[in-house]
């Protein structure tokens, strides 16, 4: 029995995570930088301007990946919070709280770039489009999670409280998303469909896919770094942390 569960306990040990993520991080950063270099070159020079939107379409190479990451990381955060809540694994809570600011930043960047994309193409900074509105609500959910966690003086109680909120939020996200869709289709017909282009140019698709992987890796690396700092901060009384800090 002891051996059977050993891998599981190791997986939830902050020390093990700290060591293994330290080994991985240089690799992840290298790949991220290479992908960014290639993706940005492909997106900014090689891929053609859009036949309607001109060069402003290039905002897409940041906008779409960050929007994708913003949703993806909320789900990861909620899963981590659930694991931490159910099995009382501290490491999972540390990961969840490390993800939140990164996810919020991704959401903000997606909204910000979307606004700058909307200005030349739609002629307005903001539009109450269903997708944009649910992205805005996602930002509120992230902020609520961070604010609730920070409001508790005892971090471990904060972990559990914020964890419940993340779980409630992840159940509600699809409901909010579809309500907003339904609301928009009734209020104003979808006059502008952002993704309604007949087909995407092959060079554009390559740039977009590379940028999605690059930004996902970038966010992962940032999350790992934040988790490492969180581990050092919380486990600072442990012997191994003192050894790490001294060396």
């Amino acid at each position: 029995m002891k051996n059977k569960w050993q891998w599981f306990h190791r997986l939830s040990s902050p020390k093990w995570f700290y060591e293994i993520s330290g080994e991985w991080l240089p690799w992840i950063w290298t790949i991220t930088i290479l992908l960014f270099a290639f993706g940005l070159y492909q997106g900014l020079y090689v891929s053609p301007p859009d036949y309607q939107q001109g060069n402003s379409v290039r905002i897409m190479y940041i906008h779409v990946p960050t929007a994708f990451a913003s949703l993806f990381f909320y789900v990861v955060m909620a899963v981590a919070a659930a694991i931490g809540y159910i099995w009382r694994i501290k490491l999972a809570h540390m990961a969840a709280i490390s993800i939140a600011p990164i996810g919020a930043a991704m959401t903000f960047i997606a909204l910000f770039t979307g606004s700058f994309w909307g200005r030349p193409t739609w002629g307005t900074w903001w539009i109450w489009d269903a997708r944009i509105t649910s992205e805005l609500i996602l930002l509120f959910l992230y902020i609520g999670y961070i604010a609730l966690h920070d409001a508790y003086e005892d971090r471990e109680v904060g972990d559990r409280a914020a964890g419940i909120l993340a779980m409630v939020g992840v159940v509600n996200i699809p409901i909010i998303h579809y309500s907003v869709y339904w609301w928009n289709t009734l209020h104003q017909g979808a006059t502008i469909s952002k993704f309604g282009k007949p087909s995407i140019d092959e060079q554009m698709l390559v740039a977009l896919l590379v940028m999605i992987v690059a930004i996902m890796l970038f966010a992962t690396a940032a999350v790992l770094m934040r988790t490492r700092i969180e581990i050092i901060d919380r486990e600072s009384h442990k012997k191994w942390v003192k050894e790490v800090l001294e060396s």
Binding site: I137, A151, Y152, A161, I164, I176, S179, W182
Partner: protein, 219 residues
């Protein structure tokens, strides 16, 4: 046991009259601010009325959420109730139901009056009452989770709105939309069904989350 707890909660709300009256007055005042701020013109009020009434109902419910736990938390009654009732689930249910009876129900009763002040027609008033009937229990259920998470915090009030309002959005959308549809003479069964679905869904999930939340706060 549930009935006993429910009776206790209702009696508590009844004796602390401001729990009953303040949200109601807040609801009426907020709604009457809009014609002053925007326009007293009838046509515009008809268009904006459903939304205004629903937003005001949302805010009034949110303000009344404190009465679910706060007093009982600070004088220690909550811990005793958890221990003695033997079931945190029943206690939370009693609190949610009594919160709805003491703050949701009065809003529903007074809402036709506000609807008339917003120049809404009879069909819209009916739809307003129906949507509030289905929607306000969901607000109480979701609110119990948010209140459970923030009850032990000093600056809980502002935080509560940040946590709860985004989750209220679907209710707001379907609630106010049903009334708009009704005022134009359209069928609004879809919206009512959606609200009923939210009610059933949150009735089955949210009490569990609320129990987990209050357990975190009590520790």
């Amino acid at each position: 046991m549930l009935l006993f707890l429910l009776k206790r909660e209702l009696l508590r709300h009844w004796r602390g009259k401001q729990d009953l009256i303040n949200p109601l007055v807040f609801f009426v005042i907020t709604v009457s601010l809009f014609p002053l701020a925007v326009t007293p013109e009838g046509n515009l009020l008809i268009q904006m009325g459903p939304g205004i009434i629903w937003v005001a109902a949302l805010l009034a419910t949110m303000l009344s959420l404190e009465s679910i736990y706060r007093d009982d938390y600070f004088d220690g009654t909550l811990e005793l109730l958890m221990l003695q009732s033997g079931s945190a689930y029943q206690m939370v249910m009693a609190k949610v139901i009594s919160h709805w009876i003491s703050s949701g129900l009065p809003l529903i009763i007074i809402s036709p009056l506000l609807a008339m002040m917003m120049h809404l027609n009879a069909a819209s008033i009916w739809s307003l009452v129906l949507t509030l009937l289905l929607g306000t229990p969901v607000l109480s259920l979701l609110g119990a989770v948010g209140m459970g998470l923030t009850v032990s915090l000093k600056q809980g009030g502002v935080l509560l709105s940040l946590l709860v309002l985004p989750l209220y959005i679907p209710i707001l959308i379907f609630g106010s939309n049903a009334i708009t549809a009704a005022s134009m003479g359209f069928n609004y069964v879809t919206q009512l069904s959606a609200l009923a679905a939210f009610l059933v869904g949150s009735f089955s999930i949210m009490p569990l989350a609320a129990v987990a939340a209050i357990k975190v706060s009590i520790k």
